[in-house]
């Protein structure tokens, strides 16, 4: 499905996948970390120390070397409130940086094409309940691994966003969110959306209300998809300046920028163009 949209951007590709069964159901506080590490001696032990310092307990490590860099997968046990501290500690080690953290969710992204991504990380072999993906054609911020989509908020794990468009009142809203304690990892305007929605969800709104609020508050052209452990939501800007098509029916729910991606699934449901300012959500 993503390969059919490769022509929309070749800068980077990424997916966020929600696993059917979280790492462990017994304790409920196990998380999967994906950590980007430079291939230097001692990096792994530094990460392990950092995790321990933040009160985490490593259950398993899966090293995955791609070229000169490691994209390692750690399964850890920790309390939810220490996650942010843990991310901070790991990022302080200089050799490593956290790519994703989640109880249900894993984000896999790299500066490459969809085909390459699949080859490097065996994305096709992953199974799960739902997921989102993105190919990037960068416009405003730099092209690197950390500016690739999907984005997540480390303070509110298991929620990810992919976005097409620009948020033109980025600094205004970022300022407000930072005052409320959200930590921005990059200068990408798409990252703002995940913090914005996470903020709304923390304040007790449900996904649909959060998306509707975002259509009112965020300025500029956009269409974006938000994924949560039990839901997916899509929103389009008031003027309908970015595409979003939804395929619904026969037990399938799919969203894409172009019809060709939905057709690639092989289902024949009704494909509908989202109206300007429209919000659609799906629940598991």
């Amino acid at each position: 499905m993503m390969a059919t949209l490769q022509h929309r951007g070749r800068d980077s590709a990424g997916v966020a996948v929600y696993n059917k069964s979280p790492p462990s159901t017994s304790t409920g506080n196990e998380y999967v970390l994906r950590i980007f590490t430079k291939d230097v001696i001692g990096a792994a032990s530094e990460v392990a120390t950092a995790i321990a310092r933040a009160g985490g307990d490593i259950r398993s490590i899966q090293l995955n070397l791609v070229g000169e860099y490691g994209f390692d997968r750690y399964v850890i046990r920790a309390e939810k409130e220490y996650l942010e501290k843990m991310v901070h500690e790991i990022n302080l080690t200089k050799a490593s940086r956290v790519l994703s953290i989640g109880h249900y969710m894993e984000i896999i992204k790299d500066v490459c094409t969809v085909e390459e991504l699949d080859k490097r990380f065996k994305v096709s072999d992953l199974s799960g309940t739902h997921g989102i993906g993105h190919v990037r054609f960068s416009t405003e911020s730099r092209v690197d691994l950390f500016h690739a989509h999907p984005f997540q908020s480390f303070s509110y794990p298991d929620i990810a966003v992919v976005h097409n468009g620009q948020i033109t009142n980025y600094y205004k809203i970022r300022d407000k969110l930072e005052r409320r304690g959200h930590k921005f990892e990059t200068e990408n305007d798409s990252e703002l959306i995940v913090h914005y929605v996470a903020d709304k969800l923390e304040n007790g709104l449900d996904l649909e209300e959060a998306l509707e609020a975002s259509v009112r508050d965020l300025d500029g052209p956009f269409s974006y998809i938000i994924s949560m452990p039990d839901a997916i939501g899509v929103a389009k800007d008031k003027l309908g300046l970015r595409p979003a098509l939804v395929l619904e029916g026969n037990g399938i729910f799919a969203i894409a920028s172009e019809e060709v991606a939905l057709r690639a699934l092989g289902y024949t449901g009704t494909i509908r163009n989202l109206r300007p300012g429209e919000v659609v959500t799906w629940r598991r």
Binding site: H7, L239, G240, E259, R275, P276
Partner: protein, 460 residues
Amino acid sequence: MEKVTHATAAETIEANNLSTRQLNKAIKDLSRRTERIVIKDPKGKHHIAAGLCRKVEIDIEGSVGYFVGTMIDGPKIRIHGNAGWFAGDNMTSGEIVVDGHAGNGPGQGIYGGLVVVKGDVGDRAGALMKRGTLIIGGNTGIMTGLYMMGGEIIVLGEIGDYAGESIIGGQIIFTGDVPTLGKNAKVVELSEGEEKRVREFLKEYGFNALSFKKIVPMSPRPFYKSSGETIAKVRRTYIRYQVSIDQTLCNQCKVCMKFCPQSVFSSVGEKIVPVRRVDCVGCKVCMEYCPMQAIEVIPTPTHSNSTWNSYVVDDIHRKAALGHHLVRGMGARRWFPHFDDLVLLCAQTSRPPIDHYREPCNTETIIGTRFAEKPLKLKAPIIIGAMSYGAISKEAKLAIAKAASNIGIAVNTGEGGMLPEERENASILISQYASGRFGVSANYLQSADAVEIKIGQGAK
């Protein structure tokens, strides 16, 4: 759907494994020797048949991506499926029929021809249309006919809100309920003759509808508001130029009174005196024409180092009287080199050492030596900056074109399209393709010697 028999057999292209570039090249090549092309399995490719200028029939069996048939001139394209955004964008002539639905902006900016979408369309259908016809069998999204300048849109389903937003020409004919209208749009009834014409026209494409209304512009210049005040009417108080006549030299020939564009001079008794000195703009025409050289025009000295000097204060007074800012050429604060300041050392443009007896030494510059079929040959490495018609006048454009032709260098059309006279007068003309794509059509790009793609600009 009836089958049409054709004199020549249809050629088929399997599009699945072709890139868009390869597909379009195949279409172009086939269109030279056949009248009908069938494209199988288009896989939602974008830009299919872009810029095709032959009278050929193309059948596309499947859904296509964005910009199908953009900038075409002549072909008839039928899409047995859905179309993405901007079907038939900026086309000059021909026909595009979409059997399914279409995305945003079908028939955007068309110069002529016909676009038919049998299903629903997205937002901004027929935006910036100039001529031609757009028929939509289903419903439309918001802002149908946005910034429309001419032509006709016919909507047979429900028409979306803000229809005819900022429309300044043409008409949008619709059947359903009256939507929320856009700015400058109004709804009027069709005359009986017109209603009959539309009905007959629609029958050809298999549509039946009974009653119509249409949306037309309220005013052709909705956003132009004259304040009624002009700079000439504003009474000035600050004397910017000191005008004086040496009465011992003056022979009362009154040539200054005749030529002063601001009527500064009047005869008082036997003398000619600069009565309305406040109106002087410092053109010094009087000084030029005075046979006795009796007139002197000197700018009033001002304390230029203070922010609120008398010049600035006068400007503010005038803005206050006018009610808006002063419209004038901005100029630049920095000093820029003039053409006379350029010194071209021919030897520097070739490889040294040079012996002009043995090899030619000149400033000729060729752009596109590696890949271009027709490289751009300039007699000097100078290209005149892009200035559109509208930013500068037609006279200025022609003067630049003639001057550049004389010295064998290139001129640029700028953003707003090409004047036919400019093409005639310029020996080397570059067409600018900017993001707004104003005036961009097949003919515009083909009649140029080169195409400049503008990504951004620093001027203005």
